[in-house]
Symmetry: none
Subunit: 224 residues, 2 copies
DNA sequence: CCCGGACCTGACAGGATCCTGACGATCGCG
DNA sequence: CGCGATCGTCAGGATCCTGTCAGGTCCGGG
């Protein structure tokens, strides 16, 4: 995925990448980048630091908390602080404009070499009797298809990507709506309750979508 | 492993790396680098391009055919071709001198993060027969899962990150509730007592969660 | 324009957890 | 060995957290 607001530059880079055999989805602002990265699975994200709305740094920081996807930052600035900040928020590499497309492609190749291609595109995620198919936007529980709303699906998809990990309400909120949002309401609880009604055999006794008192929720296999 | 022929620079870098919590073995020429890298397993190799005998490029190319170890090249030259050559022979990253030690350390950290966490920096921390898994928010003692409340978990997590260090009650308090709080009550003592009941074989005779009279508490391995 | 679904919000109740204060046990020190 | 300071332990009540429900808002489709 390439996030770059300058449409001409974006198009130029996309061509270089395509010529090298990569497939590139282009987005033009930070929120769009965040949404796309959460919805689909990319091999690598190219993030311009200067993006309208949410800048590349913020996108990187947020996504790094949620996944290990490879991220390469692009910036016009070249101060060392900027660079360090980029690496600190979790970028895997960093390039300063102007750079040669050849170098960009070389770095992309280097980054991708580390991750076996097969490991990059898990088709359907599964935990216990629960499956989530992100591209198709479908969910099954015990083989039975389940209808989920957008918000519910976003929560499930986020959690099933890191089974067992505890998510705070704030983190889960970021997945349903955009960032910000300081909601102190019962929003997430309500979604979780509705999810339990749909995926748990006995919603009063959850086996997979568990509460971690004082922290948040986590998704587990259910039957060790 | 750091391969650098200039002894002064090598020593300076080694100190920076050590200060950051890394352990560094230093070698001074290419052949030595090759030998060391084949003999032991390193998390990452820092290779100066200018090495007597075998230069860094060659070392990198040779080792890359034998393993996937992370390699970061250091060079005085800054031509793009040189850089591309470095990435092409299989380096994972590339830095041009002069660079700031801070940047080096940041890049090292970034590279290390890419390696499957389970290999090097396991998400579960262990001290003696005790393990703490922060993302999953779980604790085991002697292999048996232990239920901890949020407060108890916060205390354990803080202590296991620096085994053996003594924590005052005030410091531990900061980990349970937010900051401030000047509680002078028995709060922490109660939590510690409850923890001992859960993780110690004999809570009256703590072996891991010890009291340091007049100071606070510390967590140790128990029986080495 | 009306309608329905999805989402958010606020309120409430039932628990789980935490804090507090008191008391006795233990420790360090002279 | 005696003393003050510190620590372990207990239980009750204050506090915080979550499940649940009933509106209210927003949005797109008919």
């Amino acid at each position: 995925m390439l996030a770059e607001d300058d449409r001409r530059q974006a198009e130029a880079l996309r061509r270089y990448l395509t010529a090298e055999g990569h497939e590139a989805t282009v987005v033009h602002d930070g929120e769009e980048a965040l949404r796309a990265a959460r919805q689909q699975t990319f091999d690598l994200l190219l993030l311009d630091v200067m993006l309208p709305g949410l800048d590349g740094m913020q996108v990187c920081r947020i996504l790094r908390q949620e996944s290990d996807v490879l991220m390469l930052m692009l910036t016009a600035r070249s101060s060392e602080d900027d660079l360090l900040r980029g690496l600190d928020v979790g970028a895997d590499d960093y390039m300063t404009k102007p750079f040669s497309p050849r170098e960009l492609v070389a770095r992309v190749r280097t980054l991708l070499r580390r991750v076996p291609a097969t490991a990059r595109h898990p088709p359907v995620l599964r935990v216990g009797r629960l499956t989530v198919d992100e591209p198709r936007h479908t969910v099954t529980a015990g083989g039975v298809p389940v209808d989920c709303t957008a918000g519910e699906f976003a929560i499930l998809a986020a959690m099933i990507r890191q089974p067992g990990r505890v998510f705070t309400r704030g983190q889960l909120l970021e997945h349903t709506r955009g960032i910000d949002r300081e909601s102190t309401g019962r929003t997430i609880d309500v979604h979780v309750m509705n999810l339990r009604r749909k995926i748990e055999a006995n919603p009063r006794r959850p086996r997979q979508l568990l509460t971690v008192y004082g922290v948040g929720y986590k998704l587990t296999a259910g039957t060790p």
